[in-house]
């Protein structure tokens, strides 16, 4: 064993230092809380998606004629095929659960702020690619919701002036989502986007390890007092990532797998949220599902699209609003001019704005998923559903965009009254 190590070390002398740099000598603040599990969990789900995805492609048929049948073949005739597919479909949804919480952590503790802007930008790129990856994967089973979801989402590009209609045709390779569309989406879903995703994840981590991790206090550990029990020149409030955070993250992994197993084995469709009823019917361009809606993780953005009305004879404003809602997140490091990172030491205005952001985002999700359309007749009998829903949805859209406007005004003009940030991190246990 020692010989083998020497043999490798002689030929690749930088391997061991690289491992040390990113694991045993990567010093992370010692006060990570529950919110810091979601980064490693995102990697876990990514690996799950790739591994189960490989096995799915072994039996999936990329053809509009055979795709739906081949998925049922996997569910019924392939040994443990149902488990592999449920792991993949549940993994897709949990990927977004984990990533949303991971992003919220970053906003809450100001992890996007200087010097971590690059980490944040790379993370937002990951999010964007992940959305494209999920959308194309959703089309592959070629159920009726796959078909109509693809049609609606691709036709968004049709709102672009002049080139729109031609662009839609170019994306689909046909006049409707069809065999050509399915084949190119398969290529992108299985090869192109996962490669980009993996590369971005490596860059995201590399960028993080250059500047070091933030923490729930937002205290700058790296430039604070030095000298811990492992190294006199390293931050006093930091501990080696390995073994401390590897063993800690493993506890999170165990707990996360427990929840995932509950879903996979006892509620794999999650009541129509993770696998939709209308997608158990094969794609049919003559039969429109009664409610076309995207997967739950797109519903907040979809609601913004729906809530912004057309004017000046074009529907592009909704599309701009939808993509803008994501772009604004990417621009957070420049919108938020505040010096204090963590919500723990920020002004009351920031806390309220953050709550408004969360409520707006969740409410928009409910609007996009059609939950409000179901609840409004129950709660307000006799009211016009569309009027009430539009009023509510537009208010929540304002809440979402209002967060960014407020944050810029609040911090740029110095309205924020922050609390003093301590020099050392606090540990609560």
């Amino acid at each position: 064993m020692a010989n083998l190590f020497d043999w490798v070390n002689e030929r690749a002398p930088n391997l061991a230092p690289t491992f040390r740099k990113h694991m045993t000598e990567y010093y992370a603040p010692k006060n990570f809380n529950l919110w810091y599990y979601f980064g490693s969990l995102a990697i876990l789900v990514l690996v799950n998606q790739i591994v189960t995805g490989i096995f799915l492609t072994m039996n999936y048929k990329t053809s509009a004629l055979e795709a739906f049948n081949s998925v049922e073949y996997i569910m019924r005739d392939v040994e443990w095929g149902w488990l592999i597919r449920y792991m993949h479909s549940t993994g897709a949804s949990l990927f977004f659960v984990v990533v949303f919480l991971h992003m919220f952590r970053g906003i809450m503790y100001g992890s996007f702020k200087r010097p971590r802007e690059l980490v944040w930008i790379l993370g937002m790129l990951i999010f964007l690619v992940l959305m494209a990856e999920a959308f194309m994967g959703y089309v592959l089973p070629w159920g009726n919701m796959s078909f109509w979801g693809a049609k609606v989402i691709i036709s968004l590009f049709g709102t672009i002036p002049y080139i729109g209609p031609g662009l839609v045709e170019w994306i689909m390779g046909d006049f409707l989502p069809a065999d050509a569309t399915l084949n190119r989406f398969f290529a992108l879903h299985v090869i192109a986007l996962p490669l980009v995703l993996l590369l971005l994840v490596v860059l995201h981590l590399a960028a993080l390890h250059e500047v070091g991790s933030n923490n729930p206090d937002g205290v700058d550990v790296k430039h604070g007092p030095k000298g811990n029990r492992w190294d006199a020149s390293k931050p006093i409030d930091a501990i080696p990532f390995h073994p401390y955070y590897t063993v800690k993250d493993l506890v999170g992994v165990g707990f996360f797998l427990l929840i995932a197993a509950f879903i996979i084995f006892f509620a794999p469709t999650f009541g129509g949220w993770f696998l939709e009823h209308d997608n158990f019917t094969p794609a049919n361009n003559l039969v429109t599902p009664s409610h076309i809606k995207p997967s739950w993780y797109f519903t907040p953005f979809y609601a913004i699209l729906r809530m912004i009305p057309s004017f000046f004879g074009t529907a592009i404003w909704g599309v701009i609003g939808m993509f803008g809602s994501i772009l604004l997140l990417a621009l957070l490091p420049w919108i938020d001019r505040g010096e204090v990172r963590s919500v723990r030491f920020r002004g009351m205005g920031y806390r309220i704005a953050l709550a408004v952001l969360v409520i707006s985002f969740l409410s928009l999700g409910a609007v996009g998923a059609g939950v409000t359309a179901e609840l409004i007749p129950e709660w307000f009998p006799g009211a016009d559903v569309t009027t009430v829903e539009n009023a509510f949805g537009r208010l929540m859209t304002l809440g979402y965009f209002g967060f960014f406007v407020f944050l810029w005004v609040y911090t740029h003009f110095g309205f924020e009254k922050t609390k003093p940030v301590p020099e050392r991190v606090t540990m609560h246990d």
Binding site: V251, A261, G272, F280, M427
Partner: protein, 251 residues
Amino acid sequence: MIKRYLSAMALALGLFVATAPAFAAEGGEGLPSAGTNVNDRASLQRGAKLFFNYCVGCHSLKYVRYSRLASDLGLSEDEVMSNLNFTGAKFGEPVISHMPADSAKTWFGKEPPDLSLEARAKGVDFIFNYLNSFYLDPSRPVGWNNTIFPNASMPNPLWELQGLQVGVHSEAKPGQDSVVEKLELSQPGRMTPEEFKGATRDLATFLEYTAEPAALERQSVGVWVVLFLALLTFLLYLVKHEYWKDVHENH
């Protein structure tokens, strides 16, 4: 520390378990529950018998093989081939109806759909209530209508068992057509209403199974996976606790 950990986990798990039933219900919102239990083998067998006597004339189960039915429902090859397979298909072949598609279109206006995935697409509650809601309606081409799926092109295949139902119309409001308020049995069938409910429940159970044969397996596997993961998570926690002792001593 362990207390805080355990309470956080208990809270998360509690929230999850509390919300799970809301999500676990499969479709058919607002309809009376079918009350099916896919693990009830006797119910599955009765449902299969009904399906192959009353449904397969028009509807296929193209994703279900006779051989798989035998092993999943606890039947022998002979039992399946002589009691359920009336089309002469081979044991390993799927259940395909012999109804010619062209004639079906002439007779019913459309081809009867494949029912393999019906329970996942529409929900067992829908199937159960649909089968109980046929009534005579001379205005329809085949003489039948349905309150759950108005103007369905399908006649009631189980009328001999259920008897004949007629619609009781509400008083028409001015400017509106009267609607069917409730259904009444005008002529009893071979089964009592309670027996018929049981029979349609069995049929819904059988279709729940055909929509997802893995359902029979996944819950029993799942129990062991969950137990294993619970133990693993606990052991991992102990490892973490041991490692982190020096961090806690140190600050």
